[in-house]
């Protein structure tokens, strides 16, 4: 290594260092370059398509189990029973956000679009169990029991109606009367038998603006 190279080496070291230091100095003195968001005070706006915590609007949920089947990590669990009107009644709908990977597959497949991603993303807990979001707060067993009772009642009622109708019919036949009122009776039966299940069962306070609430806060 000749003296020229030696000196050039030193010169290069000084020059490149100075170049770098000029850039850092510019960042250092220019307050516009500061990009920090002071988190708890300033918040960043999640975008429209942001995939935050899942929220299921159980009023519109049809318990079709599409979300359960599509979930790659099985974080959604759903229990439902067939109600008196042949529609499914949700007994429990839980999402384990500790396992959820926010892939959005369940939201895409949801036929009634009741399952949505909210913009909520803040949650901390010391217990894994707290990470399970319950969308139905009533005990699943109670709902089942109630629905079963209603189904039984409806069935009994229908049976009674039927029996009544039949007896009426028989009477009518006996009396050689006109058409019995069985259709009307059957029409009456379901409304009274229907428990208005989802809304009632949920006991959820939220309605219209529910989607804006963070699911984490919905727990009691």
């Amino acid at each position: 290594m000749g003296l020229k190279d030696y000196l050039y080496d030193i010169w290069e070291a000084v020059a490149t260092t100075a170049k770098g230091m000029r850039i850092t100095a510019r960042y250092g003195v220019d307050p516009r370059e500061t990009i920090t968001l002071q988190y708890p005070e300033e918040r960043w706006e999640p975008s429209e398509r942001f995939r935050g915590f899942l929220y299921n609007d159980i009023k519109t949920c049809t318990s079709c189990t599409m979300c359960v089947r599509v979930c790659p990590v099985d974080c959604i669990s759903l229990e439902s029973v067939r109600g008196a009107d042949k529609k499914m009644v949700l007994a429990s709908y839980d999402i384990d956000i500790g396992r959820c990977m926010y892939c959005g597959l369940c939201v895409e497949v949801c036929p009634p679009k009741s399952l949505k991603h909210t913009s909520g993303y803040e949650k901390a807990s010391v217990d894994r169990g707290e990470l399970i979001l319950h969308f139905i707060h009533e005990d699943a067993g109670e709902i089942k029991a109630r629905v079963a009772k209603q189904v039984a009642e409806a069935a009994a009622k229908a049976e009674a109606e039927k029996a009544k109708a039949e007896s009426e019919k028989a009477e009518a036949e006996k009396a050689e009367d006109g058409e019995p009122d069985s259709r009307a009776a059957q029409k009456d039966a379901p409304p009274s038998a229907q428990p208005a299940a989802p809304a009632d069962a949920a006991g959820n306070p939220e309605d219209g603006g529910a989607a804006e609430k963070k699911p984490g806060e919905e727990k009691e």
Binding site: D9, I10, T17, G20, M21, I23, T24, A25, Y27, G28, V29, E33, T34, I35, T36, Q38
Partner: protein
């Protein structure tokens, strides 16, 4: 000096005339030591805050901003946290040495404050071998660092300790060599004398920095070598976070870690202060003669000027740290032995020749004499 202080104290307060002089002298010594230590600790604490703030600014962040106004009390919070932390000593560590090491480092770093000429009359002890003492006492740091590396019984720490030893021992030479021009010019090892020799010429052009081209170069050589002495990036290979995890203090926690941490900032101050005293005119106030001012004002003003110069050098160190990557250990050694040592020798030769040829006159003074 302490004795004279004690005598003047007795003169001022006749109540003390019954007390033996040596007790008062001892008392004065303790008080001065306490003042210096308090200053050193406060400075170190604030320097950690400034370091983080500088880093934040450079990195387009904010830095600490939660504790106190603009986060200035962050260092207190950190200190309290470190104090309250569990003190962990590894099971297989050499307990005695492990405990001893941080103190050695701390002493090595903070004992150097004794000879730092803060102002016209503000020096804890104006030793006539000031520079020599300073270099000797800062070498104590390497003993502590090596002990820390060895006694932790951790291979990363050991590597860090060994690297530190090699590095500091190597860089002692260029540091000493780069400081010698100032000693030659002043003709004294006392830091006060060196600072005094740089007076006059508006308090700026008397600096050794402008004395002649060789002293100008000397300053930069010293600064680079001193950076290495303090284990700062780009020479922070004993800590080398990305290689050695955290180097020699990897096993230290709590207050013992704080000692290492404070010592690093203490070191930064000491080497910057030395650079200021030897090359940047020390406490000489620009356009004023500090020594001619009334004692209180002279001292305060010179203290301010001295701290200003020194702390700008400290901030420069921080700026360098947050810009540059780190050298490899062999490159570091090459830099010391192939670049710094030869250059400082050439430099020393140049300064000696200059002094011989021009009878100790610097360029500014020659120019000044041209204009009468």
């Amino acid at each position: 000096m302490m004795e004279s202080l004690a005598i003047s104290l007795v003169d001022a307060l006749p109540v003390l005339s019954g007390v033996p002089l040596w007790t008062i002298t001892l008392l004065v010594m303790v008080m001065v030591a306490a003042v210096v230590l308090t200053f050193a600790l406060t400075y170190s604490g604030l320097a950690t805050y400034v370091e983080r703030k500088v880093a934040g600014d450079i990195q387009a962040r904010v830095g600490p901003n939660r504790v106190g106004p603009v986060g200035i009390l962050q260092f207190l919070a950190d200190g309290i946290k470190l104090l309250l932390k569990e003190d962990i000593i590894p099971a297989k560590a050499d307990r005695f040495l492990f405990v001893l090491a941080p103190y050695l480092v701390f002493i090595g770093s903070f004992a150097a404050f004794v000879v730092v000429p803060f102002g016209v009359g503000l020096i804890a002890s104006d030793l006539n071998i000031g520079i020599y003492y300073l270099m000797a006492i800062t070498s104590l740091v390497v003993v502590g660092v090596m002990l820390a590396g060895w006694s932790s019984n951790n291979k990363w720490a050991l590597l860090g300790g060994m690297r530190a030893a090699a590095q500091i021992v190597s860089y002692e030479i260029p540091v000493g060599m780069a400081l010698l021009p100032a000693v030659l010019i002043a003709g004294s090892l006392s830091l006060q004398d060196i600072v005094r020799s740089q007076g006059g010429l508006f308090g700026i052009f008397g600096w050794n920095l402008f004395h002649n081209p060789f002293t100008f170069l000397s300053f930069f050589l010293y600064y680079v070598a001193a950076l290495a002495e303090t284990n700062r990036t780009p020479f922070d290979i004993p800590e080398a976070e990305s290689e050695l995890v955290s180097g020699y203090h990897v096993e230290y926690s709590g207050i013992r870690f704080a000692f290492f941490f404070l010592a690093e900032y203490g070191d930064m101050f000491v080497v910057s202060a030395l650079a200021t005293a030897c090359f940047l005119g020390g406490w000489h106030v620009p356009f004023l003669d500090a020594e001619a001012l009334p004692a209180l004002w002279g001292n305060l003003l010179s203290l301010g000027v001295f701290l200003g110069k020194t702390l700008s050098l400290v901030v420069l160190m921080m700026w360098i740290r947050w810009t540059l990557p780190r050298l490899r250990v062999d490159q570091l050694m090459r830099m010391a032995w192939k670049y710094l040592v030869p250059l400082t020798f050439v430099n020393l030769l140049g300064v000696s020749l200059w002094l011989l040829l021009f009878h100790g006159e610097g360029i500014p003074r020659m120019i000044a004499s041209l204009f009468g």
